[in-house]
Amino acid sequence: MADDFPKTPLIDELEKGPWPSFVTEIKMAAKDNAAPKDLLGLLEQSYDEKICHWKHGGIVGVLGYGGGVIGRYNDLPEKYPNISHFHTMRINQPSGWYYSTEALRKVCNIWEKHGSGLTNMHGSTGDIILLGCTTDELEPTFQDLAKEGFDIGGSGSDVRTPSCCLGKSRCEWACYDTMAACYDFTQEFQDEIHRPAFPYKFKFKFSGCPNDCVASIARSDMSIIGTWRDDIRMDKDAITDYASNGMDIQKDVVDLCPGKCIDWDGKELSIDNSSCLHCMHCINAMPKALRPGTDTGACILLGSKAPIIEGAFLSSVLIPFIKMEPPYQEIKDLVEEMWDLWCEEGKNRERIGEFIQRMGMGNFLEEIGVEPVAEMVAHPRENPYVFYEEYYEEDDEEEDGD
């Protein structure tokens, strides 16, 4: 069967070299399946012509859900009929991307039966991406997966599939249980994940500490990043060990501390914890000697996104510190509050970060009932253009206004 593969001299070049080859993967799948075979041909043509051959999706999906499927058609359906429909399904990954081989094999079997046999493990939001499905097979694939306990993730103007770092499962620095929180929020917002009703997408990402191993501060509308507010735990002997093993503590730790709050006299390390910026660097550098404190929780930030349209944003601080205890009610209430406001006053295709910037963070806070604190800003305003809402009238000497 391998013999009737299309001639693909260009992409064959990508089977060479030491890094695992996606072309080899497609060829592996193409042995048993006509869709990947057509994909090889189409890709070769793209490589030759330097242009892609996919068209806008249109709305396809599974019953009752508005998201989770990305429709895709090629623009040469006669030439590549087996991928004339070639939709992707986003399958909500388990927290931390842990699998049993049993579960994973079941997914493979289902995808062998219904789809192209190609996947992304994983998409950059975190889903299992089942790559290439005809319209007819969407619903059957979904239900077969559902029977094995899997559900579809987000796409379109809904809550996108939340993701998290592995947190307490294998990391000594996790300041809260990211995997539990991610699972809990995902379950809580099932309806919002599956039925788009927002002005635009909304992403949650959960990182256990400021190292932010799921890039939440850059890629999620709500970033929940673990941190602590007591003192860094210290093992003095382990520090001595690092020093005697040749670590240049002054240069590699002290000089790089952004809080400028570590002192090292050649023997003892001391940290002025009141000035610590919780950046993690000293801990990262000396994992056997230093650890975050024990009064742990999370810092909640809002609004990061890619550049379209207002330019890229990083998330910015909403709550400097909060304890992370199930059922996380305070956070969920706040989320609902924000969504209500955003749904009411947000423009179409306006991410919450853009919305906050447009209405002004001060007004936003007022609407959602959160007190402004200095932790929310890099610095106070530099311009004197303050919109005071009230003023005194001559006659009444009382605050008045509009």
Partner: protein, 359 residues
Amino acid sequence: MVDLKNRITDIGPPHYEQFLPPVIKANYGKWKYHETLKPGVLKHVSETGDAVITVRAGGSRLMSIQKIRMICDLADKYCGGHLRFTSRHNIEFMFTEEEKIEPLIADLKALGHPVGGTGPGITSIVHTQGWIHCHSAATDASGIVKSVMDDVIGHFEKADLPAKCRIALACCLNMCGAVHCSDIAILGVHRRPPTINHDTLRKQCEIPNVVASCPTAAIKPAEVDGNPSVEIDEDRCMFCANCYTVCPSLPLNNALNDGVSIWVGGKVSNARHEPMFSKLAIPFIENNPPRWPEVVGAIRNIIDVWRGDANKYERIGEWIERIGWPKFFRMTGIEFEKVHIDDFKHAGLTYKRSTHLTY
């Protein structure tokens, strides 16, 4: 055909607990410290005295079910049927016995999967669909990623750089993934205004939405051959494709004008420096499939210059902040051009407002 009554919906993902390897489950929340036994091999030690070894292997992200099954075979053989993927799409094998390390690595090598990606090196490239699956791709994703990783795999396997170097690729300005905050980013760019398919436009697209979608107000309603359509002021177009996202009749893809740009100096972690955006280094490199040698060479150059000059722990953005952008351009030999100067909304804030210069 659909069994409406027994349909299962809104169950969410499977609970993670059932998938945890026993040592992970037993020591959940009890980990004390870790060490790196060698690149790609971590050892986490628990308060209980338990330890877990992790072997991290690179993959191609686009995987066939056939390959997934082979990987499952390895996880069955070494890890009691458990495995995980990382937030950057590497594959992690966990077990407790140190003596399994080398046989597993050998098996992975045999399967074509390198081990590495930890510590101060290069890990897998966060990337997107490209010509494999997206309609607005200005370049392919997987092909460039493969070509770059073939070249930098030494830094994946050896972790021999001053600090972590996170590379990302996105095939259009939507920047699915990590391009806007990566040490090195590869970004597909269009450079020709949308062509207007007037015939389909009036059927497929809502003209007010199309007009509203353009951030530079380049699109105006117009009558064409007696039918409602739009016209585009090409001088005002900066090729963001937002109009194309809302209207398929305005494609920007164009073989002659599409290509790739290179960005540097972003980071995500809060370690030391606050998170930073990537900044434009090379505005445009023509698409040169199948192996984009110019892109590969440009990245190699940036890595080599950085590696030669940076201090330990200094990520690319931190290094450039110390030496200054003028030196970055001088040292890498990249030409500074008009397009490097921001001219979007906050442009003025990127101008150099001091005399802190090197000569």
